[in-house]
Chain length 84, copies 2
Amino acid sequence: MYKVKVYVTLRESVLDPQGAAVKGSLHSLGYGTVEEVRIGKYMELFLDEKTENVEKVVKEMCEKLLANPVIEDYRFEIEEGVVQ
Amino acid sequence: MYKVKVYVTLRESVLDPQGAAVKGSLHSLGYGTVEEVRIGKYMELFLDEKTENVEKVVKEMCEKLLANPVIEDYRFEIEEGVVQ
């Protein structure tokens, strides 16, 4: 089995209102040294070991569904031989 | 400046309907070898370099706000001396 860890983040230039809200809450809780918060997604995919061209396939899945390439960046790591 | 990467994931035993929906969509797109998808959050926090006890402080922030310890696990990595 392949385990793929996918990280999706908003591009630098895109405003992150959710991150701003979390930063505000952290300040309210007394953590005033928090200067910025950016929120993204972390996904774990488990692929059957029969999957071919895993890297190409995961890139396609990111481009088509998992990330919005207009406003988001993504990166991923593939681990082979994972027992779930 | 400290850069902290926080990963929040649903506990193993907790159902992940969002992950199930993404898995269904991936199957519809022809990626039938996807066996499971789990969706979590990835957060980047930037803390002022004057912050003391960074590890303790980040742990507190996770427990109080960033994660729900009842249904989620979290882990984090701290990088020092980051220039934003």
